[in-house]
């Protein structure tokens, strides 16, 4: 029989294992802060988990798309303004003969808004990553960046898609 004092730790550990399996290792370390939400609509745990999972997958898609200069890799995870802007970046990179690699070291994510009608979620992510710039396959520089990203996700048929992804300095 598990004592009551042990239960919370057990629950947290289960959450960690579940999360690491769901989010994968390609995102570096992932820290999820308690939500600090505005808005009247409660956010179910399953919804929050799905949002974070899809958001992290979107980062992987973005990284692959920017590295390979392939706009089609954006289609599953991005929509609207975010997709348009990243696609333009990729087209411009291809035109200029450059590629960029974003290697994420860590995410620190907090959900900050769940709109009352349930059609959007906003989160803030303090991201640390290395960006490598290649011009005609010659490395120009590799720099470590810390930035705060604000993301807005909206639900699609079977997943949350990123509609806004915008950064500023921490």
């Amino acid at each position: 029989m598990i004592s009551r004092a042990i239960i919370p730790r057990a629950v947290i550990l289960l959450a960690v294992f579940a999360a690491s399996g769901a989010f994968g290792a390609d995102n570096g370390s992932v820290q999820i802060e308690p939500t600090n939400m505005q808005g009247p609509r409660p956010l179910a745990k399953q919804t929050a988990t799905a949002v974070v999972r899809d958001y992290l997958e979107a980062w992987q898609s973005l990284n692959a798309a920017l590295e390979q200069n392939r706009t089609d890799l954006l289609n599953q995870d991005f929509v609207g303004t975010a997709r348009d802007k990243f696609a333009e970046t990729i087209e411009e990179q291809a035109r200029l003969g450059i590629r960029t690699r974003y290697q994420v070291r860590s995410h620190d994510i907090r959900i900050v808004f769940y709109s009352p009608e349930g059609l959007s979620v906003e989160l803030v992510d303090n991201v640390q990553y290395d960006v490598q710039l290649l011009d005609h396959e010659k490395t120009q520089t590799t720099q470590m960046i810390r930035a705060r990203y604000v993301a807005v996700l909206t639900p699609a048929e079977v997943r949350w898609r990123v509609r806004v992804l915008q950064s500023d300095s921490q």
């Binding site: 802060e33 970046t89 070291r105 808004f113 009608e117 490598q132 520089t141 604000v150 806004v164």
Partner: protein, 290 residues
């Protein structure tokens, strides 16, 4: 995610797939510039170089004359974000980081209003959420006043002003007392977005029927049905008349027509006749043949 404490997922990986971080000199770049505005980056030395400005949202590449400022013209860099500037002069690399921040002036609103149809007199029944964008579709993350207005013909206007937080603002409003189309307007700066919300009558208030004999039948007719705010209940609403007598029962469902419901039932002496619509019960009549 209603987690009581933050937790670290121990899947840290090394950045071994990238080469060691370059040791580069610092490039003199402005700390931040407004999206779409002109600015310049100072360079030193002489000869030719290449300037890169790199971010997920936009990239630029320019051949530059070292020692001369590099002019970035208005409109060249209009996507908000954190950027890395790299100046490669062949023998050395200089880097700097800067932010492109959204313009303060809202240009478009993404306005989500729900529901599109609801009964009158519902407390906090209408919700609206807004995301505020500048002219380049950058989310304006700085606090911005957003006003919400719900106006219904012949009623006072409900107004609320809230400050956006990280580009998002929301509100709740009550539906009015009168049925009809309400205009729900969100406004930030000089831009606004409007949604129309249809307010329909609520449940009937004081359902009452009358009965009169017509041959071997009883004619039943309700008074005009109105909700508690006096709005005529929508035609087509189903009204149910139920007649019970000595072990038997007749039920008649009729749609409301011109505000009233009518039905005929057999005239059984001693029958009890009741009327209801939805969850609202009306009066009951005990029928006596005369």
């Amino acid at each position: 995610m209603n987690v009581t404490r933050s937790f670290l997922i121990g899947v840290a990986i090394s950045a071994s797939s990238l080469p060691a971080l370059a040791q580069s000199r610092k490039l003199d770049v402005p700390k931040s510039v407004v999206a779409g505005s002109a600015f310049s980056i100072e360079t030193e030395g002489g000869g030719q170089g290449v300037l890169y400005v790199v971010g997920p949202s936009q990239v630029l590449k320019r051949d530059v004359q070292l020692g001369q400022p590099v002019a970035i013209a208005a409109g060249d860099l209009d996507n908000a974000g954190h950027y890395l500037a790299v100046l490669n002069s062949g023998s050395s690399t200089e880097t700097g980081e800067f932010d492109v921040v959204p313009a303060n002036q809202p240009a478009t609103l993404s306005f989500l209003a729900k529901p599109s149809r609801l009964p009158v007199g519902l407390q906090n029944g209408i919700t609206g959420a807004v995301y505020v964008f500048d002219a380049f579709q950058n989310l304006i993350t700085a606090p911005t006043p957003v006003s919400f207005q719900l106006s219904i013909p012949s009623e006072s206007v409900q107004s609320r002003t809230v400050e956006s937080h990280l580009g998002a603002a929301w509100t709740e409003m009550n539906s009015g007392a009168k049925d009809g189309n309400a205009r729900f307007v969100a406004r930030a700066g000089d831009v606004s977005a409007t949604r129309v919300i249809e307010q329909v009558p609520g449940d009937p208030c004081g359902l009452k029927m009358n009965a009169k004999k017509a041959g071997g039948q009883i004619d039943l007719e309700t008074d005009p049905l109105r909700d508690c705010s006096g709005n005529a209940v929508t035609d087509g609403t189903i009204v149910t008349f139920t007649e019970s007598w000595n072990g038997g029962q007749t039920t008649v469902d009729v749609p409301l027509k011109h505000g009233v419901a009518q039905a005929e039932v057999p005239a059984y002496n001693g029958a009890r006749i009741s009327v209801a619509t939805g969850v609202v019960m009306g009066n009951e009549i005990r029928w006596t043949n005369q």
